[in-house]
Each structure stands twice: as structure tokens, then as C-alpha cells.
Amino acid sequence: MYDGAVQSLIDELGRLPGIGPKSAQRIAFHILEASESDMIALADAITDVKTKIRLCEICFNVSEHKVCAICRDEHRDTGLMCVVEESQDVIAIERTRTYNGRYHVLGGAINPIGGIGPDQLRVRELLTRLQDESISEVILATNPNLEGEATATYLTRMLSPVGITLSRLASGLPVGGDLEYADEVTLGRAFEGRRKLGETL
């Protein structure tokens, strides 16, 4: 045990994801030895994130303003909506630069073991948006794992009666990979989702 402030810093750091007691100790001592201005900048960054950043009122993506940059962007196609689990997924899709619609962040996936049902997700908000905004297509981009697939199934059941075009991200082979290294499930999905050649994209 170290004296008061050092120990409490180690304890706090140790609660962060992916950081065990040894790493926490190393980081704590790094902070102790580093220049004061650098560490105050770090402390400020943490404070800023907690005070300034909030969730966008429309899509629930992290944002510095009431409405995030994507929802404010007038050049975006307001008829398209991509439903994702977490804010990180928005960033991932944005990096592709192929999608020009808006988003809706659910805040997780249906997971009864973790006590998460549709009520804990922003499903009601999604339905409200679909009523208010003129959206023609909803793209379900939840993770291709069991919980994500279940969430997509749930949303499909909810949204089908609304009469909006629904689509699900394709799953299949990674680009630049080798067929022989693909696992059976992925390869099987790629077969199921194969596309006729010659159709216009």
C-alpha cells in the first residue's frame, strides 16, 4: 500500500478496462514522474470529456453539441438511417467514406444474460424518429454476433409493419484475405449472400 493519493490513483486506474493492478501501478508512477503541465493537460482532457461531451439529441452519438456534426450536416442524405450498437461503430462506418446517411446509436444489443432488453436500448427513440423524419431506408448494422443478430431480428419484427425498406449489412469474406483461411461460418455466409455478376451495383 502506498500513501493516500498515490494509492487512490492506482485504485482508480485499476478500474479502467484492460488495466490490471501492475499496469495501474506503472501508469500511476509515470504520472507522478511526468511533467506537471502534461499531466494537467491530461486531467483537463478527462474533465472536458465529462463536462462538454454529451449524446446527440437526435442520434445519440457522442457530441460536443446538442446535435452532433453528422446530424447537423446538410449534405447528408436524410432518407437513410444506419442503426448501430455503439458510437465507436459510427466512427468505423464513417472511416469507410461510402455511407452518406445518418445514424442511430442503440447503446448496446439485446442480451438477457446482461439484463439488457429493448427497453434498455434506444428503440423507442428510433421509432419516434421513423415517425417524425422522412426516412426511406433503415440499414441494420448491429454486430454479426448472436446478440447483434438477435437485435436485428427484433428490429426487423418491429419495423416491418411500418413499411420502410430494411436492409442488413452483408457478412462474408474479408477483403484482401485468402479463401482458404476463412472459417466455415464466414465462408458459409458468403455463399448464402453471393451476388449475381453483371447486375448493376
Binding site: 439485446i110 442480451n111 438477457p112 444474460i113 439484463g115 432488453g117 429493448p118 427497453d119 448472436l146 446478440e147 443478430e149 438477435a150 431480428t153 427484433y154 419484427r157 418491429m158 472459417d183 466455415e184 461460418v185 458459409g188
Partner: protein
């Protein structure tokens, strides 16, 4: 196929062992409790990824260690592949194929195929249904590795669905939200269950004829052996000359789930699906469980295993793809006539692994590589190969001298 090398690190009683093996019969010989079965178990692990003796991996790791390694060099014709399992109890196991980067263990299904018969297999007939479910699933996973994923998917959906049912079990806690999510899990459960049941029924259809053949050969019996799948999904119950396809099963499972709705709500668990199905083995008109004698039970269990071997061998007709047959401590239980018959029936295996306490238990027809297994200070090791049974008898004599010598200390 055959194993040319088995390497064990912190596996049960082995600290570090390198065991060379040959095609043909390999006879592991040593006194009781020196670690022969551990070798048989490890070889089977390379194929089915679980022990035949225990339901979890904890006992496989040497006491005081956190990880066990089991590596085998698998030969299939001209081709050789090395597979190394990291057994991490409580965490996910990994496998390195040809010394590559470790990946999820399921990637190695189907590389090595083996059928093990052990004294524990008597439970196949007299034990609980989970043992027979595992028997069916081991068979289908070796035939169709992709079904390993179906089983894993099924287990996951099942856990989620059970969690949902449980969370709404208290009176008044079941909400519309529960109701609508349950419909989603029904869909996913039925899809995974249909794949798994379809896979099992296909395997059983292939297994039926060889089982009764082998049993007849083993027993000279007057009673025919058979079996039927007993399912929580009514249409899957029975013997199927034509296996219902997945779409048909899917619909049937959804219906069965709807029918079980109230009792599932009351009990808070999933009552329909392959996790509650069973295989009913019959002898003549009666179920074997509770009716068959000890000898009949033993022969039936052996018949199921040898039949699985034949199914696997037929499934991939390339002679280089035949599974390795492992007989753990089997001959001691059989009379001379049955020993000879078993030796005859196992002749076409490319590699046969046999464990025995004394060489007298091994039928004289089965000559091959003899590997002595010893134990000193609680740690097992394997010795140099012995060329003939005479040198083996000499070793046995020495062994007993050793045993006497150590008791003097």
C-alpha cells in the same frame, strides 16, 4: 490417418512427455494408475476437444499448473499436420495448427479423427442422457466440423433464452418486452436447433445398420440391437429413413416452443430443443437401459463405438482418412472369444491404440509397437519401444522388482 508423435505438457500426470507412435497397433502397457488412460484421453482430446472421463477441463491440467498442452502430429497419407491444443480451464482453449499463431480451438475440428472406447462407455447405455447427446455430437462434429459451430451457437442462444425466461419468472415481472424478445430468441433457437437435430438424425441414420451388425458380430446374439432418437420436438422422434430437412424441423420446433410456452414460463427454462433430447438404445423389444445385462450393456456400448468408427471411415472413403481407434483397457473385460473377435474387427484401422495393464490381456493376433508407461514420484513417462512381447514380459518382471525395491525404502 495416424499419429506419429504425441507430446504432453502438464497434462494430468505428465509433466513433459514425448511419445513416438507407429501405424498399426500401439500397445501402451504399464501397471494400474501409471497414466496409460491419460494418453488415450489426450489422443481423443485431439479429435473431440473434451475428455471422455470428466465434463470440464480442470482435471486435465496437472495440479498446481494453469495450462496444459497436448500436441499431436497427424499423418494423412503423405501429408502431416501438427495440432497443438492449449487447454486453459475456465478460459477458451486455443489451437496452433502447424505451429502457427494460436486460434480458436474449433478451427481444428476434423483435422484429426479418433474413436475411443473405454470402460466409462458403459454409461452410454446405463447413464444419463447428456452422455448420449455428447456421443451423437462428437460424431457429427467429426463428420461435419461446421456443426461444431451450430452446437456452440445453440448453447449461446439457449443461455440467453434461459436468462430471459428466468428474468420474467417472478409473478408480475413478465412484460410485453419479454414477450416480444422471446419471439426473437425462439426464431434464433429454432434455427440453431434445426441444424443440430438435422445433423444428429443424419448421423443416426448412418449409424443404425453398423450398430446392429457390430452387435450381432460381437454377441452372436439372438436379440437385435437398435436405437431411436427421442426428441422434445415430436416429429424428430424415432428412426428416420429420410431425415426431415432443416426448414421442416424449424417449423416443427417453433410449434413445439409455442406449445411449451406456459410450462417454460412457469419453470423459467427452455424445455424444447436438442439439449433435452436423448438416444434410446434398444435390445430386442425392450430399452437397453434397465433391461440389458452387464455383458449385453458392455457389448452394446462397444457396438456403438465401433459403428461410429465405421460411419466415419465410410463418410470419407479415402483409406488415409480412417480415424484412429483407441481401446482403453477394454480387453480385460472380455472373454477370449470376444477378444479375438474384437481384434478381428479392428484390423482395418490404420492405427490402433490399446492400453492394458498386463500383456496377457492382449490377444496374440495384435502384435505391434509396445510402449511401456511408468510412474515415478507421481510423474508419468513413456519408455523406449519394445520389439517383441518377450522383451515386454521381461520389462514386466523388472517392473515388479522395481515395485518391490521401492517399497523397501
Amino acid at each position: 490417418m495416424y499419429l506419429s508423435h504425441l507430446s504432453l505438457t502438464n497434462y494430468r500426470s505428465y509433466e513433459q512427455a514425448e511419445i513416438e507412435l507407429k501405424p498399426g497397433p500401439n500397445i501402451l502397457i504399464g501397471a494400474n494408475g501409471v497414466g496409460k488412460t491419460n494418453v488415450a484421453e489426450a489422443m481423443n482430446y485431439l479429435a473431440v476437444q473434451h475428455s471422455h472421463r470428466v465434463s470440464n477441463d480442470h482435471p486435465l491440467v496437472r495440479i498446481g499448473q494453469t495450462q496444459a498442452l497436448a500436441r499431436g502430429r497427424v499423418h494423412r497419407g503423405e501429408q502431416a499436420v501438427s495440432i497443438e491444443y492449449e487447454i486453459n480451464p475456465g478460459k477458451s482453449n486455443r489451437v496452433a495448427i502447424n505451429r502457427g499463431a494460436p486460434q480458436a480451438a474449433r478451427q481444428a475440428y476434423g483435422i484429426f479423427k479418433a474413436v475411443l472406447f473405454a470402460p466409462e462407455d458403459i454409461e452410454l447405455i446405463s447413464g444419463q442422457p447428456d452422455i448420449r447427446r455428447r456421443f451423437m455430437d462428437d460424431l457429427i462434429v467429426q463428420m461435419r466440423p461446421a456443426l461444431g459451430d451450430a452446437r456452440r451457437d445453440y448453447d449461446r442462444v439457449l443461455r440467453q433464452r434461459n436468462a430471459l425466461l428466468k428474468s420474467g419468472r417472478k409473478p408480475g415481472s413478465w412484460t410485453d418486452e419479454h414477450e416480444s424478445t422471446l419471439a426473437v430468441w425462439n426464431e434464433h433457437l429454432a434455427r440453431a436447433a434445426a441444424r443440430l437435430i438435422n445433423g444428429r438424425l443424419h448421423a443416426l441414420r448412418l449409424l443404425a445398420a453398423p450398430t446392429s451388425e457390430v452387435y450381432a458380430e460381437l454377441s452372436n446374439g439372438n436379440k437385435p440391437a437398435g436405437f431411436a432418437y427421442q426428441s422434445t420436438v415430436p416429429m424428430a422422434t424415432g428412426q428416420h429413413a429420410e431425415v426431415p430437412d432443416e426448414a421442416v424441423l424449424y417449423t416443427a420446433i417453433v410449434e413445439a416452443l409455442e406449445e411449451a410456452y406456459q410450462s417454460e414460463r412457469d419453470r423459467g427454462v427452455t424445455l424444447v430443443g436438442p439439449h433435452r433430447d436423448d438416444l434410446v438404445v434398444t435390445l430386442g423389444p425392450a430399452p437397453a437401459k434397465g433391461f440389458a445385462s452387464h455383458g449385453e450393456t458392455w457389448s452394446l456400448a462397444l457396438a456403438l463405438r465401433l459403428a461410429s468408427y465405421r460411419v466415419l471411415a465410410k463418410d470419407d472413403p479415402n483409406p488415409d482418412a480412417r480415424p484412429v481407434l483407441i481401446l482403453d483397457d477394454v480387453f480385460a473385460e472380455l472373454d477370449a472369444a470376444r477378444r479375438a473377435r474384437l481384434a478381428e474387427m479392428t484390423r482395418d484401422a490404420e492405427q490402433l491404440i490399446i492400453t492394458a495393464a498386463v500383456s496377457a490381456d492382449i490377444p496374440p493376433e495384435l502384435t505391434g509397437t509396445h510402449i511401456p508407461i511408468r510412474m515415478r514420484e507421481g510423474i508419468s513417462s513413456s519408455g523406449e519401444h519394445l520389439e517383441s512381447l518377450d522383451s515386454l514380459k521381461l520389462t514386466e518382471a523388472n517392473y515388479f522388482e522395481d515395485a518391490e525395491g521401492s517399497s523397501d525404502e
